[in-house]
Symmetry: C2
Subunit: 182 residues, 2 copies
Amino acid sequence: MATEKKLNYVILGLLSHEALTGYEIKKRIDTALSHFWGASYGSIYPTLKELVVQSLATKEETHTGGRKRLIYTITPAGTAYLAQWMKESVEKDELRYETLLKLFFGKEAGAAQTLLHIGAFRKKTEEKLAYLLTAQQRLEQAPGSDTTHDYYLLTVKFGIASYRAYLDWCSDAAQILKKEEA
Amino acid sequence: MATEKKLNYVILGLLSHEALTGYEIKKRIDTALSHFWGASYGSIYPTLKELVVQSLATKEETHTGGRKRLIYTITPAGTAYLAQWMKESVEKDELRYETLLKLFFGKEAGAAQTLLHIGAFRKKTEEKLAYLLTAQQRLEQAPGSDTTHDYYLLTVKFGIASYRAYLDWCSDAAQILKKEEA
DNA sequence: CTTACCATGTAAGGCGTTACATGATTCA
DNA sequence: TGAATCATGTAACGCCTTACATGGTAAG
């Protein structure tokens, strides 16, 4: 049975904010949701098709400047379906950090090698943090009162808090390993 | 091609510490690695079979108190294979937090509902944190000098730092939502 | 004119979970 | 004697990624 797939809810959630094309959905996922979720076109387009079959969304073809666009809109049934899921308790939160795997087995590779992995991890984390900090600024200065933004902002704050903790840990871990190296 | 699977490395990494049965490997994953990795028997046993076919590990049948046990041992080729992977840079660190998904779309459900999700998340986080804190104590008081423990301890510290950041965030988020509720 | 971006979609194939199946041993 | 734990494994099936395929438009 495998865990129930979540992409339908992700898409309906995005459509609950505004009507979107598949391409735009992908962009939202790669920006606003990227620090805690991901999806590829290979799963987005088929899911969109399913949603239409299930009457949870409707598809409309438009032409913006001669360019074909398939815009998806959530239906009342889709809204109800999403609301139902929102009421249910969370099934799973999961983290898969290859960096920690390489750390766990770090004795094999030695302190020097492990320090390289930590350095790379710190750099990536700094970049993601910078991105979220600008997102936070944008949201806090937004002309405001759209409560949608408030919830988005909460997830951004989560990312910021996590990444800051990661960076602190990077410093600690690097120090410990350097001592071990000597 | 999908991302290369990591379970073979996870298993070899564990076997690099000591010879183990499939059952014991599962237990290690569910305890020592659980805060950043997971795997089920349905993937562990087939992977173990592959490792033997590839001569990266050997299988030996023993009987402890009449009970059959298949003990796996890493080979020199397996050690080399693991070492090679340890040298390569990390491909992917990923987080999939359904809680954040429900938060992102929280406007649909309202502040009260969202607070419930945050409460559940806090509770789970507290439990995981408590577990890691005892693990930390155990490792720090260990008669020592096994450097394997030092690396394990680093991953534990990572979890502790993350979970503490999560809990701080829970307080902030709850406060913000309560204000909104009023 | 060419690069970047907008835009939609399919096919192949790997990965990994859940559920199922089986059975021994230890401990209360 | 029954529950928990030790122990190994397979089958079905769903999910998702990568790679491929195609083509229009905007901007420099």
